[in-house]
Every structure is written in C-alpha cells, then in structure tokens.
C-alpha cells in the first residue's frame, strides 16, 4: 500500500513537471474559456443553453481529451520507450500499481482542470454553476473513464513516441472543432455536422451538458451514453489485447 502511494505520488509530481501537459490541461482550455466567454457570453445556443451551460462542459471535454491522449496515452509510450517499465519490472512493484497510478493521474488532471474552469466561471464571470453537481460529477467520471480507455488504445498500438504524438495531433483537430466542444455544431456546414457523429468527443460534450443541465437521466441522453459505453468496452478489449509493458 505504501509502495502504491509513493509510486502514485511520484507519477503526479512528474505530471506537474510536464510543460506540455500543463499547457494543454490547465492553460489552453482556461484561456479559451475566458476568451470565448468575453466574446460570446450573451449568446444562446442549441437547446436554449447559455454560454456557460454550453461551454463549461465544452472546455472540460477538451481537458478530458488532452489528458487521455497526451498525459496518459502519449506519456505511457514515452515511459515505455525509455525503458522505465522494463526497469520497474525488475523490482517487486506490481504492474497494477503502475496502472493505478496512471489512472489516478488522469482523474487528478481532469478534476483539477474542471475545478479551474468552474472557478473562472463563478468568480471571473459571476456565472451560475450547475444545480446538479452530483449528476455532473457522475457524467464527468464516466466520460473520463471512456477516454482513458481510448488513451489506452493509443499506448497499446503506438510503439514509438512519434507515432503516439502523431495520433494525438491528428485526433486533436476533429476533437476540438467537430465535437461541439469549442465551435457550436449548429453553426457548422451540414457535412461537418454529419462528421461530428464519428468524433467520440461529441458524445462527451453531450453527456457533460446533460449532467450539467440535469438531463442525464432522460431519454435524450440514452443514445450518447450507449455510444460511449460501447467505446469503453471495445477500447478496453483492444487495449488489453495489444498492450505491452516492454
């Protein structure tokens, strides 16, 4: 237990030293949220949502994506390529301790990033936060786990750091711009709106909005939850089949 705790603490410490991770988790989403907020805070979006109801969940979706792909998927490939895992296999440390530490890091990044957005919304913009904190927390956790499993695929299929980075960069554009996380989907041309269906983050944005606005347990959310659930199952299977520690 003590070993697991020390290892996890170190994993978290190393995370806070990654400049790129800090940038993508705590700077880019927060700055985007502020800038868009200054421009669009009086807009109304699809379903009658105001800026905060639509884009607090939106920006947190971005954090989920960057955490899963960069801080988890890519970082695992970097550590494996450096031989870190091989070295750890030579110690009594159990593999599931490494796994647990990585998951703990993912949750920490997302929860802290989310709290940062909430604080900005409340204290900078004076916006109302959700009356459904439990529903939102549930949605956030479910979406996070789903994306962890996609990050797990990245670290299973990419052998080299460059490959993992390439996958993350290529995935970034549709995830950022075709999911509704940043640009309102209804403002996009028809063809791009259709493409959004194939972008996993679209479902995260939808579910987080459902959680935030208290519609998580309604019929409208079933489809999104089912799609993410399916992704979770399939990704976990693929990841488990192809993942190698060394």
């Amino acid at each position: 237990m003590n070993t697991l705790l020390t290892h996890t603490k170190m994993e978290l410490k190393l995370f806070f030293r990654e400049t790129l991770a800090m940038l993508f988790t705590f700077i880019v989403p927060a700055v985007s949220f502020v800038v868009f907020g200054l421009m669009f805070k009086s807009n109304t979006y699809e379903g009658g949502l105001d800026y905060f109801q639509a884009y607090i969940p939106g920006m947190i979706s971005i954090i989920i994506f960057t955490t899963a792909f960069f801080s988890m998927g890519l970082q695992v490939v970097i550590d494996r390529e450096k031989g870190v895992y091989k070295r750890l296999m030579g110690t009594p440390l159990q593999q599931n301790a490494i796994f647990t530490a990585t998951i703990a890091k993912g949750f920490l990044a997302i929860y802290v990033g989310a709290i940062e957005i909430l604080l900005i919304a409340k204290f900078y913009f004076g916006a109302d936060l959700t009356p459904n904190p439990f529903e939102f927390f549930l949605a956030l956790t479910f979406c996070s786990v789903t994306f962890f499993s996609i990050g797990f695929i990245v670290s299973s299929l990419a052998k080299r750091m460059q490959t993992a980075l390439g996958i993350a960069m290529v995935a970034m554009y549709p995830m950022f711009f075709l999911s509704g996380a940043t640009l309102p989907l209804e403002s996009l041309p028809d063809i791009l709106q259709k493409m959004a269906v194939a972008v996993p983050l679209t479902y995260v944005v939808n579910i987080l909005r459902d959680g935030w606005n208290g519609t998580l347990f309604t019929a409208g959310a079933v489809m999104d939850i089912a799609v993410l659930g399916g992704i979770l199952v399939v990704s976990t299977l693929i990841g488990t089949k192809f993942f190698r520690w060394t």
Binding site: T6, H7, E18, R87, M89, T91
Partner: protein
C-alpha cells in the same frame, strides 16, 4: 551445488525466427564476479534479462538463489538489483527522487545515505537524471540497483560509452560491493576490464556459450601466456 546462486539449464529464447539464446547452461557461485562477453547481438542482454526475470525463456530452467524463476519471480526480484543498458528512468525525475522511489519498492532497504556517499552522488541529488553526464547517470543506475541491498547485482554494459576515468571510478564502486561478498554479473565490450576485474568470463557467440572460465585459464588454454582477453575474444567470440 554448494554456494551456487544462479543456475541456467539449457535456456532457449527466440524472437520470431531469430534465436537469441540457443541452449545456454551456466552456473554462478556466490561472491563471484562473472563477466559476459560477446559481439553485439550474440545474446548477452537476453541472457542477463532472463536471469533478471524480465524475459521468459522458451525452454530450459532458471534458478536464482535456489528458487525457480517461474514460480518465485517476485521473491527473487526482492533480492536482486539490476542495471539496464538504457538508464531507463522517467524524463523528469531527480536523482534523489529516483532513489527514494526505488527504495520504496522494497521491504529490505540499504541505507540510502550510505549508498549516496559510497557512490559520491551527493552533489547531484537535486539534479535531473537525464541532465547528468553518462558516468553519473550510470552511477545513479548503480545506486538504484543497490537500494534493497541485493544478494546479486546484474549490470548490463555498465561502462559502455564512459570515458576512461569514469570507467575506472565506476569499477572502484563495483569492487566495493564485491568485497562485501555480493555476486555480480555484468556484460561488457571492454576486454581489459573483463580480464582485470572478473573472476570468470562467459563468452557467448550466436546464442551459445562457447567458453566459460577464469580469464587466465582462457588465455593460457587458447594462446601463449602473453596473450590478453582481447586475443581470446578475437579467436573465440568473433565469427570466422
């Protein structure tokens, strides 16, 4: 056998069509410094990594400290220390943090301060491992191999890429632990250090053990008394 700490019996290991290890049997006695030499790709690292429990042999048995490695891998890992060819550490970890982290993995611990002073790494404790020179990185890796006060220390090419002074200094460190009676297994490309420091040398060629004896015996059995390990290497380990 009395005092045997490692016993390999007819070990085979292939990667696809390549036979990395092709029937190696070897015993190492307690307190011995055993050098493993051979060309690149001969199977040195694979053999070492099988003994470390990092790779499973396709066939053959491996006993370390009297225990079968298949059944007691976890027990064995507690009592060995390893150093890999790569430094194999997180990019952003500091020397001190790495030592404390690795120490936390074991129940049995050697005093970290003593290791730090013996290896002379105190001035570098707050530096990132990856920013250190090769010699200091290797010392850090050696320190990590010692945190559990292991019975056997495995070192995969510990001196490769080091300048002559750093090599000498690293050997001074290794020899200190030899004097404590630790068993040390290492691979190297430097025949002078193999001859000078190893009690016995195992020569591996294309996955087979072609010779294993004291350096002097190897030299005298193959050559005149004035020969060196380099001559032995060129005659035995190199493909015709």
């Amino acid at each position: 056998m009395e005092g045997t700490v490692i016993e390999l019996q007819d070990i085979h290991k292939s990667y696809g069509d390549t036979k990395a290890v092709n029937g190696i049997s070897l015993t190492v006695k307690k307190g011995e410094v055993m050098g493993i030499i051979g060309a690149n790709g001969a199977g040195k690292s694979t053999t070492l990594e099988i003994m470390m429990g990092l790779r499973r042999p396709d066939s053959g048995t491996v006993k370390v400290l009297g225990m079968d490695i298949k059944e007691h891998a976890q027990e064995i890992k507690k009592r060995i220390g390893i150093q890999l060819q790569q430094t194999a550490l997180y990019d952003r970890i500091k020397v001190k943090e790495a030592l404390e982290l690795f120490s936390s993995y074991y129940d049995k611990k050697r005093d970290l301060q003593e290791i730090i002073d013996t290896l002379g790494i105190r001035p570098y404790l707050n530096k990132y491992v990856k920013n250190l020179s090769g010699g200091w990185q290797q010392r850090t890796s050696l320190a990590l191999a010692l945190v559990n006060d292991p019975d056997i220390i495995f070192l995969d090419e510990p001196t490769t890429g080091l300048d002559p002074q750093a090599r000498l200094e690293l050997w001074a460190c290794i020899n200190r632990y030899r004097q404590e009676g630790k068993t040390i297994l290492l691979s190297t490309h430097y025949m002078d250090e193999a001859q000078k420091h190893c009690d016995r040398i195992a020569i591996i060629k294309k996955g087979k053990l072609v010779a294993c004896d004291r350096p002097k015996s190897l030299i005298s059995s193959l050559l005149s008394e004035e020969g060196t390990m380099e001559d032995v290497y060129l005659q035995v380990a190199v493909e015709a």
